[in-house]
């Protein structure tokens, strides 16, 4: 019996290896996605005493745009090509999960839509100021200046989203001078190349910013839900009324 069970387990493992991989990025992303959809549908919390939920900033209607921005991001593309489609699962020969018997079109047909990433980047840049505005609203809600723990989280969320958006590869190409052949030919070569170098430093950690910013959105959302549910954790750090 035990042998039969292990055979079944073995065949499932062979068919869907990612179910058994210690693949924290994929699984945490799926868990976050399911949680976010459930939370938004079952228990919507739009705002609590001037603290605006990040999913509603500026309106929940922009969520598909934000979702597509993440879906077409080079960091997430690498993740799902590897972990969902096994093209390849791993760089090591014995764990690749890819073979010549499997069809593959890369980004030449359906996934060519990922080339629209830069348009979603433009939308992302337009949305960023709203997150800083949320911070402003959160500290001025009671009149004067009241810095709550939630306000710090809102500011942290805004900063991390900014780091993610500004470390984007498409941003690097379009705005930071990645498409420039000759920096010396520009009006201010040092500033032009300096900006490119600074952005490149951020870009090196793009995958990290992508993931950390996603986690903090969820933490902030959870915290606001806890406040709305009446948990006594609305700490005030600084108050100037």
């Amino acid at each position: 019996m035990e042998n039969k069970n292990s055979n079944v387990l073995g065949s499932i493992k062979k068919a869907i290896p990612e179910l058994f991989e210690p693949n924290w990025r994929l699984w945490s992303f799926i868990a976050i996605l399911i949680f976010a959809i459930l939370a938004l549908v079952v228990f919507p919390v739009k705002e609590y005493k001037g603290l605006i939920d990040p999913f509603y900033s500026p309106t929940i209607l922009v969520l598909p745009v934000v979702g597509l921005f993440r879906l077409t991001c080079y960091a997430y593309r690498k993740d799902y090509y590897r972990n969902v489609f096994n093209h390849p699962q791993s760089c090591a020969a014995d764990e690749r999960g890819d073979s010549n018997s499997r069809g593959y079109s890369g980004e030449t047909s359906l996934f060519a839509f990922n080339n629209l990433h830069r348009y979603l980047l433009y939308a992302g840049i337009i949305l960023l100021p709203f997150f800083y505005y949320d911070f402003y609203v959160s500290v001025t809600y009671f009149g004067g200046f009241v810095l709550r723990f939630a306000s710090v989280l809102i500011l942290l969320n805004a900063i991390l989203l900014t780091l993610w958006v500004f470390s984007c590869h498409a941003f690097r190409h379009v705005f930071a001078g990645g498409n420039v052949k000759c920096y010396d030919c520009s009006l201010n070569p040092k500033a032009r190349k300096g900006f490119f170098n600074a952005q490149s430093m951020l870009n090196k950690r793009h995958e990290d910013w992508a993931f950390i910013s996603l986690v903090v959105i969820i933490l902030l959302d959870l915290y606001l839900r806890a406040l709305a549910a009446g948990w006594p954790i609305d700490f005030r750090i600084l108050q100037v009324l």
């Binding site: 764990e95 498409n179 010396d184």
Partner: protein, 248 residues
């Protein structure tokens, strides 16, 4: 660490064998030993018919590229004590085997010929002068030792045999495209002939590069973005056309 390791080497002699097989050797370990030392021990003491290509033994020539325990690596740069006492060494799977660990990488020279060559801007005054600020970006690409580990690990070449030129030649194209005196755009070639769309930026090439070149981030993605400029982004296409019309 054990005083001996078990070294499993892939053997294939086209004159004798129909298909390859593994042969196990026991090799005494010395301090600081690299996998190439172990292979040399076999060649010098146990089986002189073993074929292995190597030159500098200093990670500068790229000749001793192979797959060590399934990962594409340079044999001369992989310490035995970093792996364990059971080591398998196989030739690079993406290329046809000549004998044992030696592969025929000549396909790469054919690809190299296809890449549009450096084309200087017209009417450049001699001597050509390039500012340091324009050199630094593509300097890392000059570190490439053409070991072709990146070509070997690339699943598009290795498993799917699509018409993709591969990471090494995306780097080559990027180094030319980033040259301040170069006058052509290689995005048309990369998109229509080079198969750049097949690359799904999973960064295996970057992770196996012994020279730590950021192949995906600094060469492939910038080239893919140039392709977006030319084929998928109407705004940039319009902007480019206007610039050409104004003679800029």
């Amino acid at each position: 660490m054990n005083k001996e390791i078990k070294l499993n080497i892939y053997r294939f002699d086209p004159e004798k064998d129909k298909e390859g097989h593994f042969q196990e050797f026991s090799v005494p370990v010395k301090e600081g030993m690299v996998v190439l030392d172990a292979v040399h021990y076999v060649e010098n003491n146990l089986d002189p018919s073993l074929a292995v290509r190597w030159n500098c033994k200093a990670a500068r020539c790229g000749s001793c590229a192979a797959e060590i325990n399934g990962m594409p690596k340079l044999m001369c740069k992989t310490r035995v004590d970093s792996i364990g006492d059971k080591i398998s060494v196989t030739p690079m799977k993406a290329f046809p085997v000549v004998k044992d660990l030696v592969t025929d990488v000549s396909r790469n020279w054919e690809i190299a010929k296809k890449i549009p060559a450096f084309t200087p801007k017209p009417n450049l005054k001699e001597p050509w002068v390039i500012d340091e600020i324009d050199v630094s970006r593509s300097r890392e690409f000059r570190n490439c030792i053409e070991c072709f580990l990146c070509q070997d690990v690339c699943h598009v070449i290795r498993e799917h045999d699509k018409n993709y030129i591969g990471p090494r030649f995306m780097v080559k194209a990027a180094s030319l495209d980033m040259h301040p005196l170069d006058n052509i755009d290689r995005s048309k070639f990369l998109h229509e002939e080079g198969g750049a769309g097949y690359c799904n930026i999973t960064k295996c090439c970057q992770s196996v590069c012994p020279e730590h070149i950021a192949i995906t981030d600094n060469a492939i993605i910038p080239e893919k973005e140039s392709i977006v400029d030319s084929y998928y982004d109407p705004l940039t296409m319009l902007f480019k056309k206007l610039r050409t019309k104004n003679g800029k």
